[in-house]
Symmetry: D2
Subunit: 140 residues, 4 copies
């Protein structure tokens, strides 16, 4: 995955995230990935809420999750997130979710188009390209 990670935040597994196997229901990990990209972009100085209000949306066009270990209600998890441009028109976020004991719960990625609110492709805003380009520098 895309280490070194650009952003890390901690969160708790909610009761509503669990299922009858006493672990986390698989679809919830995609909800968590969304929080990861929201927090990465905010931390990078480009809140997604403002970007979308300015007319640039990042709809998901592909998502992939590897479920690697169990987690349960109230576990404190670390979300590690990174981002990169894919060509000139797409954005990719990578994520790894880790338990306090170091065990990996899941990793994966999402790929995003850059569109106007109606879904029509647009050129990625320069602020977005700058933010995502800049964040890869630590890995050089």
């Amino acid at each position: 995955m895309g280490e070194p990670w650009r952003h890390r935040h901690w969160f708790r597994v909610r009761y509503g995230d669990t299922d009858q196997l006493r672990t986390v229901y698989s679809a919830r990990v995609l909800d968590w990935f969304e929080v990861g990209r929201t927090e990465l972009l905010r931390d990078a100085g480009l809140p997604y809420a403002e970007m979308e209000e300015a007319g640039a949306c990042l709809p998901v066009i592909e998502a992939h999750v590897n479920y690697r270990g169990r987690t349960k209600y109230d576990d404190r998890l670390e979300m590690r997130s990174s981002a990169s441009m894919v060509g000139k028109a797409r954005v990719r976020f990578e994520h790894e979710i880790v338990r306090a004991d170091g065990g990996v719960v899941a990793d994966g990625w999402t790929t995003h188009a850059v569109t106007d609110p109606s879904g029509k492709a647009i050129r990625p805003p320069k602020t977005l390209v700058d933010v995502i380009g800049k964040q890869r520098e630590p890995s050089e």
Copy 2:
């Protein structure tokens, strides 16, 4: 509750509705109530999707649920729904959710304002008032 019920439909408990107590997570019942009112309005000839596109929205302003019995993954449940006007400006939906063995899982109600898409109160469309008034006739 508001018998006789105007609309009934059957649905299954999804795996993602369960929680670690092996029953349904409490918030999901409000998701189910939403399906109940969508199906009631469609059955009454006034699909909510069309109503909202025409500019009349029904945001929830109050919700109440009584949890009366357990249900579990893959149970087939009956949603019983009814609707009434509350004064001239609000709509109330009542629901009862029943297992195949007749046991009541939950009942409750939601109250709705009638607004434009920005949230400003509007006069309820005549088609809505007619549909909801008409549906109470069976109870006379």
Copy 3:
């Protein structure tokens, strides 16, 4: 509502909490109430995860929400929570959710039975009664 509030925490509206009216989907507020009671109990020294593992569960038997104002994606909200015993066998949590500008988004409450994992009523553990009794003292 039950001021003075025993516990307060801040959280963000997730993208997945929104709906096509560009506000929060009504059922999500019950998910948030759950986080409120989890954090209140943790703060009081009685993590619910441990309590449930010890065999005492708090299934919701009644829930009520008043939707009082709009909120949107990425808003930072304050959850205010309080708890009290209802008679000797039930627990009630009260909540108020407030925007950064002071506007109330929603308030409401949930009532809970105290049961074993199978759903059979049990006497509330003394630690729970102590924690909930103690927390009401500030209001005297």
Copy 4:
């Protein structure tokens, strides 16, 4: 994808599935895939609820979604599902979700281990292998 499809069912987009872009929130597609595999297995004579009660679980170990077209509240969608063994120990479900106008909304797949309820790998039950083997015959 894995045509010919073994199972098809129709469902509606719920209001709670939408997000502020007026389309479906990406994580919901994984919830829908779960319904697809539940219905495929029921149709094949092996309800997953019974299989899990008998001690054989199918936790997701990998999930992939391609988002191919927009859908919106109340759209009637067709879920097409298929299943196959991956080697002797894993199961793969493939899905395609199609609008009434024939446009593809999403496709993708999930891979599952076969475990006991604690998460320990077990040999897939013969009934499962038979059902999944049998269902591939139409493609020969």
